[in-house]
């Protein structure tokens, strides 16, 4: 390289320096901020994920070293009736419980957002069930409510309805009780909605009032658009979570997914396969199938978001 060439490139660079150095600065700042996450991804998350991807193509009983079986786990998935059943159960659960839970959560979040006395108390009360998590107490509780002689049937008895099913231990209604259980814990998305509502600048409403906009108009033109990133977040995450639903079915059915596999969620079956049947290879293959399904749905969600999610930039 000649000195002249060097000088030329140097002068070209200085011409663009301002812009490119600002961009470089921004990029450096971004990666610096992302550093903990990147270290976590590389050190804690990605490694085990890749290991599980490898295991998905092996026979791994947790005790002996895994050995390569190629596509055997995948062909087994195609012909496993319990797996197909668990997929069906999980889809049913997702399709029914996610919309109900989100609508209830959003409606109550708006109701509880402002203008009422004792709001903190209501909010706390509604959030309480979500605090219980997967505690063993919930299992007993749900049987007391939805059992043969449970609270629900006692109430129905007072109304003159006899011969109601034993909800929780009848395969045609057991999944329904878990959906109710999930809706009952709408507190988590509600809190996120509340936080989102709190973040909408009050000035927008002030301005709308000046313009004489009705409540309904405010809801449609301010609240929903400005809340849409949060609605989107809740939708995406609740779908992901619902596909991974485990604890409640595990606790309520004592880990069996019964009766008659009617509450055998996908992840519950995966857990049984991995830890009770010592087929971690097959479980890993199942996990990656679930990942593909959920990732596809999430991608779809992100695509659809272009048409309804409003970002302020």
């Amino acid at each position: 390289m000649t000195v002249i060439d060097e000088l030329r490139t140097l002068s070209e660079k200085t011409g663009r320096r301002d812009k490119s150095s600002a961009a470089a600065k921004e990029e450096r700042a971004a990666y610096l901020l992302l550093l903990p996450w990147i270290i976590g991804l590389v050190g804690v998350t990605a490694g085990p994920m890749l290991v599980s991807l490898y295991i998905a193509f092996t026979d791994y009983n947790l005790i002996q070293a895994p050995h390569w079986t190629g596509l055997h786990n995948i062909s087994r998935m195609l012909s496993d009736p319990r797996l197909h059943n668990s997929l069906r159960v999980t889809f049913e659960y997702v399709v029914v419980s996610v919309p109900i839970q989100l609508i209830v959560a959003l409606a109550l979040a708006m109701l509880l957002d402002k203008g009422l006395r004792g709001l903190p108390l209501y909010r706390s009360v509604y959030y309480l069930p979500s605090l219980l998590g997967g505690s063993v107490a919930v299992a007993v509780l749900w049987r007391q409510i939805f059992g043969d002689h449970g609270l629900v049937n006692q109430l129905l008895g007072h109304l003159g309805i006899e011969n109601a099913p034993a909800w929780v231990s009848d395969p045609s209604t057991a999944l329904g009780t878990l959906i109710v259980l999930n809706v009952w814990t709408f507190g988590a998305p509600m809190v996120i909605f509340l936080a989102g509502l709190r973040q909408i600048p009050a000035i927008y409403y002030e301005a709308a009032k000046v313009d004489g906009a009705s409540k309904w108009r405010q809801l449609r033109s301010i609240t929903l658009p400005l809340l849409s990133p949060i609605i989107f977040f809740n939708l995406v995450l609740q779908i992901i979570h619902a596909f991974q639903a485990f604890t409640q079915a595990f606790v309520v059915s004592s880990g069996t997914g019964g009766p008659s596999d009617s509450t055998m969620f996908y992840t519950l079956y995966l857990y049984q396969v991995g830890f009770n049947n010592f087929q971690m290879g097959y479980a890993a293959a199942m996990a990656w199938l679930l990942l593909l399904i959920v990732a596809a749905l999430t991608a779809l969600n992100f695509y659809a978001a272009r048409f309804w999610v409003f970002y302020d930039n």
């Binding site: 961009a23 600065k25 990029e27 700042a29 971004a30 901020l33 903990p36 996450w37 976590g40 991804l41 050190g43 085990p48 994920m49 290991v51 599980s52 947790l62 109701l111 009422l116 006395r117 209501y122 509604y126 959030y127 309480l128 979500s130 219980l132 998590g133 505690s135 063993v136 007391q144 002689h149 809190v191 936080a195 989102g196 709190r198 973040q199 909408i200 600048p201 000035i203 927008y204 002030e206 301005a207 000046v210 313009d211 108009r217 033109s221 301010i222 658009p225 400005l226 990133p229 949060i230 995450l237 992901i240 485990f246 604890t247 004592s254 992840t267 971690m280 479980a283 996990a287 990942l291």
Partner: protein
């Protein structure tokens, strides 16, 4: 869009006077109706928890026999038995859980907000790819990664310590919260941080001085959720905590369960109630911060 038209009203600061007396009665009536509905719902929501409270004062067979919440034969013994029924007093398990939760909250607040700011506001290469990777890490069921993760942490000598439960949180492994905060930051008007940048703030100062204060509701949500989830998280705590002196609340609670023998339901329910109190207190405290976001910086 309406949004842009309302935005032009940034400067509007006075509230328009409305004739009040006539609407007030209507308002109180509507408020009363609302309260009735909210209270009715609260009862439905609370009944199961009241039953749990009632059960903590009952004997094992009554717990399974009675679905009402009125306790006729108070048995307070469950609390003593539960508190002292395991190798260590239950207080130790509460402390252990509190340490884990505090560590996890600190970790998530710091690391997730940093990553979220970068994803939401800064331009850098591979942004979309990295964001997609982050989302994908949420989608794999934890049960298949826990074995490799356990092997990793056991190699590092971290078993039987709180480290495997806390350190990953400082590395933003809870991508849920990163995504949550990204969505919140994207909801903050960009003019605010643009103004800060024009004032000469660097990215980090903009982050700490402008963005963080504005996303208090999201931070509060993160703190509350992290606390609740850590407090209730069972599986990873079961796996990593081995000796009874480091057991956490969920692990200790399960010690009362015996699938092949007598489960001590009374003490189990009593300690479940005890374990619920800190979470409830944390929520009552934390939710106050939900009310303070950008709305307080807006014009009242």
């Amino acid at each position: 869009m309406t949004i842009s038209s309302t935005r032009t009203a940034h400067t509007v600061s006075q509230r328009r006077e409305t004739p009040r007396s006539s609407t007030r009665r209507l308002k109180t009536a509507r408020g009363f109706g609302r309260h009735c509905a909210l209270i009715a719902l609260a009862i439905v929501m609370l009944y199961p928890l009241l039953w749990m409270l009632a059960s903590s004062f009952r004997s094992s067979d009554d717990i399974f026999r009675l679905s009402g919440i009125l306790v006729t034969h108070f048995k307070t013994g469950n609390y003593g038995k539960g508190w002292n029924g395991l190798k260590f007093p239950f207080g130790l398990y509460l402390i252990n859980s509190a340490i884990i939760a505090a560590g996890a909250i600190a970790g998530n607040l710091i690391s997730c907000s940093m990553a979220a700011y970068a994803f939401a506001r800064l331009r850098f290469r591979f942004k979309r790819t990295l964001f997609a990777i982050m989302l994908i890490t949420i989608m794999l069921p934890m049960h298949v990664v826990i074995v490799p993760q356990y092997i990793l942490f056991s190699r590092m000598g971290w078993l039987n310590t709180f480290l495997p439960l806390i350190v990953p949180k400082f590395l933003a492994t809870d991508a849920f919260f990163v995504f949550l905060m990204v969505q919140f930051i994207r909801g903050i008007p960009r003019e605010l941080d643009d103004a800060a940048r024009l004032d000469g703030c660097g990215y980090f100062r903009t982050f700490t001085r402008v963005i963080l204060p504005l996303m208090k509701p999201a931070l509060a949500t993160t703190a509350i959720f992290t606390f609740v989830w850590t407090w209730n998280d069972f599986f990873s705590q079961l796996i990593y905590l081995t000796a009874p002196n480091v057991y956490s609340v969920p692990v200790a609670l399960r010690s009362f369960v015996d699938a092949n023998g007598d489960t001590s339901w009374g003490p189990l329910f009593a300690m479940s109630v005890v374990a619920l109190l800190p979470v409830f207190a944390a929520f009552l405290f934390g939710q106050r911060f939900l009310t303070r976001g950008i709305s307080t910086t807006g014009i009242k």
